[in-house]
């Protein structure tokens, strides 16, 4: 039996109906969704409705027509799963306020597989550094190549990079949205949204057509934390919403790991603190697999590490990796500027360095 049962479907639409009122209730605070979503339908209506909304909500509950809703869903290509039927990931049962229904676009098999094979959530800041974006992309790509599902939130920055990496390796990827599954949010990622809907899976707690609310982002984060066995943080600032996902994962007893960032970088302060507090270090997809499946046979030295560098090139590479400016690179390598530039151009054509637009050089990864 596929699709959500009538009750769950009604519940899903009720949350959608009350979403603006919940937003009004919570105001501008970024608090976690409180116990609200764990309440029964009637209790929820009473709790957030207000006098008029309560009547409206109760009338909605009484007059809900499941078949009409199903016809609507079919029209916009959205399918559903509910907690009372097969095809609903039992991982979500760990949540006290698990969503009754999930609204989905894309591959149904990915949702079913979550209970059988571990998946990884990759999250991080929207304002990621080029390095963070690179690492997130490589993680998605490596996990995709290893046949593992990458879960993220399709936000700008790290999220989108992880999705793109997975798609790039023809791997499985799931985007968990804070709005309806058919709404590309943020708009700049609409291409990515379409692609994930075709090659992966987009899922959401809110019904189609719903916009995102301030409260629905932390609510979405709880789903991301619950669906994966491991949450990997790539660059998160100290006040980043990413850390909300980490909190959920820890409460649920799921593993949390982080990618090291430069200690002087604001956007990596939160993720570096996690490492300091004992989170495992993730350098690449191999480390993720080790973390989930136990240490594998020792892998060959990283393919990106070139062996035939002369000592000068080595020093140039180190200088760029250390984030030095041009004059400091010259001083470090002991070269006059013109020769340093020559060396940098040579390393670039070998794929070891690349230019960050107009803003200098950086180490290329996975070249």
């Amino acid at each position: 039996m596929s699709g959500a049962c009538d009750d769950c479907l009604r519940r899903g639409y009720l949350v959608g109906l009350l979403a603006p009122r919940i937003a009004g209730l919570l105001g501008r605070s970024r608090r976690r969704p409180p116990g609200l979503l764990a309440l029964s339908d009637e209790e929820l209506a009473l709790a957030v409705g207000g006098a008029r909304g309560r009547e409206e909500a109760l009338a909605f509950i009484a007059g809900f027509q499941a078949e009409r809703a199903r016809a609507d869903l079919r029209r916009c290509g959205v399918w559903t799963a509910c907690e009372h039927r097969d095809g609903y990931p039992r991982l979500l049962d760990d949540l006290a306020d698990s969503p009754a229904a999930l609204f989905c676009v894309g591959r149904r098999d990915l949702l079913v597989a979550l209970d059988r094979e571990p998946a990884v959530t990759v999250v991080g800041t929207r304002d990621a550094s080029p390095y963070g974006l690179d690492v997130a992309y490589d993680l998605g790509r490596g996990l995709g190549a290893a046949g593992m599902t990458t879960i993220s939130g399709m936000a700008r920055g790290v999220d989108a990079a992880a999705h793109r990496g997975a798609l790039g390796a023809c791997g499985a990827t799931i985007a968990v949205l804070a709005c309806g599954p058919d709404v590309p949010y943020p708009r700049s990622n609409r291409q990515l949204h379409r692609q994930i809907g075709e090659q992966g899976l987009v899922l959401a707690e809110l019904p189609p057509g719903q916009r995102a609310y301030r409260w629905s982002f932390p609510a979405r984060n709880r789903l991301m934390a619950a669906l994966a066995q491991l949450t990997v943080v790539v660059e998160a600032g100290e006040s980043s919403g990413t850390l909300i996902t980490v909190d959920f994962a820890q409460q649920l007893g799921r593993a949390v790991a982080a990618v090291p960032g430069r200690v002087t970088m604001r956007v990596a302060a939160g993720s570096n603190r996690l490492l300091r507090e004992g989170a495992p270090v993730i350098r690449d997809a191999g480390d993720v697999l080790d973390e989930l499946l136990g240490p594998a046979a020792h892998r060959a030295a990283s393919a990106t590490e070139p062996t035939d560098l002369d000592p000068l090139e080595r020093r140039l590479l180190d200088a760029v990796e250390a984030g030095l400016d041009m004059d400091a690179i010259c001083a470090f390598a002991g070269l006059p500027v013109n020769e340093a530039r020559v060396g940098l151009a040579r390393l670039e054509t070998r794929g070891l360095l690349r230019r960050d637009g107009l803003f200098g050089w950086e180490r290329a990864r996975g070249g």
Partner: protein, 502 residues
Amino acid sequence: MLARVPTFALEGVDAREVTVEVDVRRGLPSFTVVGLPDAAVREARERVKAALLNSGLDFPQARLTANLAPAWVRKAGASFDLALAVGVLAASEQVGLAALDGLAVSGELSLGGELRPVAGALAIALGCRASGVRRLVVAPGSAAEAALVGEVEVQSVPSLARLVELLAGEWAPEPPRSHPGARVPASAAPDLADVRGQADARRALEIAAAGGHSLLMVGPPGSGKTMLARRLPGILPPPTNDEALDITRIRSVAGLGGGGLARERPFRAPHHTISAQGLVGGGSRPRPGEVTLAHRGVLFLDELAEFARSALESLRQPLESGRVEIVRGQRALRFPARALLVAAANPCPCGLGGERCECPGPSRERYRVRLTGPLIDRIDLVCQLAPVPAAAFRIATAPGESTAAVRERVVGARGRQQARSGAAGASCNADLEARATRAVAARATGLEPLIDALDAGVLTGRGHDRVLRVARTIADLAGRDDVQRDDVAEAIAYRASAGAAR
């Protein structure tokens, strides 16, 4: 009785010969000016009449018709006063027609009959030379500038009365002395030795000067971008005589002239709120824009990302072709615009850049898009500047190389370029045409980095020729005839990346 007097009208930065024809015949007294005069030219009637009477000359009580030929060129300004007055004098037989042979006049008149200087005297003198006029009469204030052109006898006449004496052979003016123009004393000009550190940017500046290549400096406020840019004119070779005439002519047309010959290359730094018209010139009566005022010198665009997109867009064609073409009505005007473009920008809106940047992601992205906007593929050299460490100011670091030392190398490199391209060729490597660029490639011994970079996608096809020209300059600076591997690699390293040029 009919008289003809040649004079000149400014078109862009050139002077076009205009013949003032004056016809005097009996009839009801009147004075008509035809031939597309503007309001200022029509008012010349009153000035001419008063000037003649106040100089003790006759204003004929007859029907006067003046025509400014060619009739379809719009005439503007007061510079036709003198020609009209001389035409009236000749047509009314107060001066002999023979005395006007081979003579052109240009000047504004006061009501008292004194001659006043006009803008663009040098352009007018150049126009005389071009159309074979041997003598030019101007006001004393214009004479020194006009006399910069040899081959034309410039006569400096203070008043209409003196002019009549001159034409009657009763008086001769002192020949004007063209003074060479005040040189900026070397101690006052900014020197490269003032700049601490920034070895990389200095190198880029030297290459830019040696080959005329455009340069973009990216760095936080206070890293010395403006300081370096202001020192660029100093390391360029001094203008040749023709270049100096060019510079002076443009300054004079724009009303910025100091009278003498320009000895320094111009440095123009327009504010980023400038309009497209201000940058490339225009207006109903077209005036030169900043890129023309910077001709043979440096055009510095500080805060490149803040300029209006339309303004930068309008610079593309002039930078490529070295001139601005403005079409007004049925006429196309040409302004020379061979300026060396130097731009500066902060790495991000907050200016700090790198890991200290505190800009929110979207605003940083928007800024980057603006910065890599319309001009980026016209930039040959990009260099990044870091903030100068405070230590460099406190500790007595060795001062950087001086302007004089760098200029010597630049002059040497330019000399090699001119010797190679000969009289017919471009004045510097940046101006090399496609065929000449291919010739550079044919003579190079190490093009491998270029091919590798194209293969690796580091370089676009469009960047290919520009890299070759920069590599040619780097070899010139090293005093080598062949372009070697390392020259090409260094040139590639100064390009904006292929990604930024998209």
